[in-house]
Amino acid sequence: MSETSTRKGSDFEQQLDKSDTRVAEFSGHGRTPLQHLQHFLHGNPTMVPVIVLLVGIGIFGSLIGGRFFNAFTMTLILQQVAIVGIVGVAQTLIILTAGIDLSVGAIMVLSSVIMGNLAVVNGVPAPLALLIGFAVGTFCGAVNGVLVAKVKLPPFIVTLGMWFVFEAVNFIYTQNATIRAQDVEAAAPLLQFLGNTFQIGGAVFTYAVVSVLLLVALFYYILNNTAWGRHVYAIGDDEDAARLSGISSSRVLISVYAVSGLICAFAGWALIGRIGSVSPTSGYEANIQAITAVVIGGTSLFGGRGSVIGTLVGALIVGVFAMGLRIYGTDPQWTRLTVGALIILAVAADQWIRKVSA
């Protein structure tokens, strides 16, 4: 971001060489260990969910032992959260701009049923069916983006409405008919590709797991090291300031929603891989699950702060607690209760860290 110039400027600027080159810093004397921790976390916001994740694994590992704490179970959790992780990346982009997208799950399912019906029912070649699915997802996202950026409607309202629209289109288009896994396998095995597994020792991975890791890495890079990525943060932090500094906020916003739609379509492809069949009733809680992952992952709902890595860790936290509680043998309601408590804790921790004082 800020480079120290090596060019020799005008004479009067030479005076700058004598000035203090240290960056502004807080004096660190007289801090309690708790304040040290607070300060450390303020500098590394992603560490909070990582710590929670490790504590969670530790708790269940000691309660349940080998049945929980082994390579197979750990990678199974990865498989289970891959789709939420992918949708979570899309949701993170939007929440970073201080928006929210309630339609992510509906876009995912709509894209997946379009891919599936085109390839299996209408005999469209599978690669083309996938591309059309991606295009539909991108288009859905772009519609959201235009309504938010150009028509200036609140994201919550826009995506609430479009959630119903996309979901209804999904049911009307499919007549709520499911395409069986065997039929997908026979007609278009490419659609199930992301569900294929490979093994490394006891660990079992699906291509969906690989793709979510790659996707997170890609967007971590894009958000931190490209102009577009920095613009996303800038708009979320303060849209007026971003606009005044020359960022075309409406263009960036539309592109964020469109990219988010594309990622959701990709999640739709992963969904077919996971469940084998093409089912319009899947993923109806994906929007809430994605928001949950984003929030537990430490991304601020006010925009401008957070990371896709945090979101993936957030999804993993939910996965670890759900799996741990199930193996331990509790009622499914306890899982919901725990996840609810984790959401509140995550936001409370976030607020506490922001109160860093010298």
Partner: protein, 341 residues
């Protein structure tokens, strides 16, 4: 935009006018109100009602909620039916408790109200209930699984894939019915999870779809990898469970049983994915409902509940390609002619 509104208004008015003329001809009007008009189960129900109405010369008006759980639309539909002078209402209620006051309004206005598929709470809020005996549906697959396993039934390791954490009545009935059929002491019939039989590995929820089925199956296999029998709330959940078993390489060691009778489910019985399923008959349910309203209009007689039940049972049949002694069943070929969706 304005054109759109104008044409929509004309269209709506035209519809109103049409329905007006239809009922003006003196034909009896019956309303069918379903949870959604997208779920194949209710699509089939509508088809059954339409066919029967046509046959009897009855005017049928269909309404549906937008999604499962949308009770407001159903309340409005009942109000429209009362106002429109309908003689009877057939309803698959989304909110079985919340709809009761509105149903009472209709009955007070002299309409006969019949609950289809989903009993109201309390059950007596409707004049009659035409539904699948879900407990019986569970008992059938339980008995089949027990006979199929033979002596091994004593060493069964059973996973239960239920519906939602809220455990609605239909899910409890199927789950507990299966246990009784299999020979497990259900303790309290109204509660899932109070049993102490060692053969039960655990219960998990699926939301009744493939995704939830797969996740629940994975979770329970982590709890006990030696599971060899899986009860599922419906066929989509069964398909998801099979995906999990297949990916873990244990699909051939595990038997799955289910309830529904949808065409994809019957195809899965044929393919050997599902061992046995209990088939229900939405078409028959609706047709019986239309007939009952006609009888009521002509003679004032209300339908009676089946012997030993508080509902009128519309029938449930076991479908399997591996029949066992002592449990009556039909094969998937016969079932594929009667399946829905």
């Amino acid at each position: 935009m304005r054109h759109l509104f104008a044409s929509a208004a004309v269209g709506a008015f035209g519809l109103l006018a049409l329905s007006g003329t239809a009922s003006a001809q003196g034909a009896t009007t019956v309303c069918l109100i379903t949870k959604t008009d997208t779920n194949p189960f209710f699509v089939k129900m509508k088809e059954g009602a339409e066919a029967k109405a046509k046959e009897l010369g009855i005017n049928l008006q269909s309404y549906a909620g937008r999604v499962d759980g949308d009770s407001d639309s159903q309340v409005q539909a009942i109000e429209s039916c009362i106002a429109g002078g309908a003689k009877g209402i057939l309803i698959a209620a989304s909110d079985t408790k919340g709809i009761v006051p509105t149903v009472k309004k209709a009955r007070d206005a002299g309409l006969i109200v019949i609950a289809l598929d989903t009993p109201l709470e309390p059950l007596a809020s409707a004049d009659a209930t035409f539904a699948t005996d879900n407990y019986e549906a569970g008992v059938l697959i339980g008995q089949w699984a027990k006979a199929k396993m033979g002596a091994e039934a004593a060493n069964a390791k059973i996973a239960f894939l239920d519906l939602t954490p809220q455990q609605p009545s239909v899910a409890v009935l199927r789950d507990q019915g299966f246990m009784q059929g299999f020979g497990i002491d259900v303790k309290d019939k109204a509660i899932v999870g109070d049993e102490s039989d060692k053969r039960i590995v655990g219960h998990d929820v699926t939301n009744g779809n493939e995704e939830g089925g797969r996740q629940a199956m994975e979770n329970l296999l982590q709890k006990d990898p030696s599971i060899n029998l899986v009860y599922t709330i419906n066929e989509p959940a069964a398909a998801g469970a099979y995906e999990a078993l297949k990916s873990l390489g244990v699909a051939d060691k595990v038997t799955i049983v289910s309830v529904d009778g949808g065409c994809p489910g019957i195809a899965n019985v044929k393919a050997g994915v599902i061992g046995a399923t209990s088939m229900q008959y939405p078409l028959k349910m609706a047709a019986m409902g239309v007939e009952a309203v006609k009888t009521f209009v002509e003679s004032g007689k209300k339908p009676e509940a089946s012997a030993g039940l508080d509902i009128t049972n519309t029938g449930v049949d076991l479908v399997t390609d591996k029949p066992v002694d002592g449990v009556k069943s039909m094969d998937s070929a016969a079932a594929s002619k009667a399946c829905w969706g």
